[in-house]
């Protein structure tokens, strides 16, 4: 028995985590093998041609925030996004520096320094870029960051709804 129309957004959203995500790679295998590595290779080829654009007003706010002596973490959804994000943060269409800060690549189980062009300007503040570890979700990364905080200031999490909801569930508990 088969459906005669594509699934709706609501149907996919409701069943993505529990069912669909795990079954798709089996159903849509490539020559009987896991399709994810094949897709990943194609995506990397495509990604090298693209750069994501960043809102100028958001970037201005980010610059102000960093220079206001706050800690700033930029959360990526996956490791593969790192170079696209770095390119977008550090240069505009004219290849000028747009973010006035050092960028440090930070995986939450292991901190690596990867300053742009290998240089580090001690007069500038540093922002950290994090992504989920293997099999972790963005919410896990957020929780790791928050648990490791040493300062007593407030934490502002600005993210998509699913990450917010998952983080809230871990840190504060489920809705009652």
């Amino acid at each position: 028995m088969r459906s005669s129309r594509p699934l709706t957004v609501g149907e996919i959203s409701a069943n993505w985590e529990e069912t669909l995500k795990d079954t798709l790679s089996i159903r849509y295998n490539v020559d009987g093998k896991d399709p994810l590595p094949v897709i990943c290779k194609h995506m990397n080829d495509i990604k090298s041609l693209d750069a994501f654009s960043i809102s100028v007003s958001t970037l201005d706010s980010l610059n102000e925030c960093i220079h206001g002596d706050h800690d700033v973490y930029i959360l990526l959804k996956s490791k593969l996004d790192y170079y696209s994000a770095l390119n977008a943060l550090m240069s505009n269409n004219r290849n000028e520096l747009v973010l006035n800060a050092n960028i440090r690549y930070m995986n939450t189980d292991k901190v690596k320094d990867m300053y742009l062009n290998g240089c580090f300007d001690t007069t500038l503040p540093t922002i950290k870029v994090a992504h989920p570890k293997d099999n972790d979700t963005p919410a896990d990364s957020v929780c790791d960051i928050i648990r490791d905080l040493k300062n007593e200031g407030d934490v502002f999490l600005i993210s998509d709804y699913s990450t917010l909801a998952a983080t809230k569930e871990v840190l504060i508990g489920p809705d009652r």
């Binding site: 028995m1 800690d71 600005i158």
Partner: protein
């Protein structure tokens, strides 16, 4: 204190500026706050870029998606536009890695997806025959609030034979 905010650029700008001006000194002493900001959707409006990239990668992986005789052939610009919009609407899903987006592309252009039967099946059973169909609910949990009742009724009209199966149960 935790402040949660949904990811829209205007709100993020507001919060960042407001944080500098309004939350910096609560007790009169400078306070060091922490901002955790999602790159996707907050700093970069890249939902459409990611959707298009996923579609291209799906075509490279399964060239058959371009075949003209498919119901949703990606050879046609209208279908690509429809698919891009659909992918944007699903940009909130937890993909883990971007490759799953291309699997989602494949799913969306697939009109013969048998697992859908189980999804409909479990929705119906949840509404109409919960006692007889625990095994299905356990196997495919469905959040009923995500699927409006009218949508379920539509499915009953499309799959009336399935309703009979669900009501009878194992």
């Amino acid at each position: 204190m935790f402040i949660f905010s949904h990811a829209i650029t205007v709100l993020s700008s507001f919060l960042l500026v407001h944080a500098i001006q309004g939350f910096n000194t609560v007790t009169g002493t400078p306070k060091r706050d922490t901002f955790i900001i999602s790159f996707d959707g907050v700093l970069a409006s890249n939902a459409e870029d990611k959707a298009k990239m996923a579609i291209e990668a799906a075509i490279f992986t399964w060239p058959g998606l371009l075949e003209d005789d498919r119901t949703y052939s990606l050879l046609h610009p209208d279908n690509r536009c429809w698919l891009t919009n659909k992918m944007r609407a699903l940009s909130h899903l937890n993909y883990g890695q971007d490759s799953y987006r291309s699997l989602l592309v494949r799913l969306l252009v697939e009109v013969n997806f048998p697992s859908f039967v189980f999804i409909v099946f479990s929705c119906i059973s949840k509404y109409y025959s919960p006692r007889n169909n625990y095994w299905i609910i356990n196997r495919v949990p469905v959040r009923q609030e995500s699927m409006p009742r009218s949508s379920i009724l539509d499915q009953i009209l499309l799959h009336h034979h399935l309703v009979m199966m669900a009501v009878q149960g194992p």
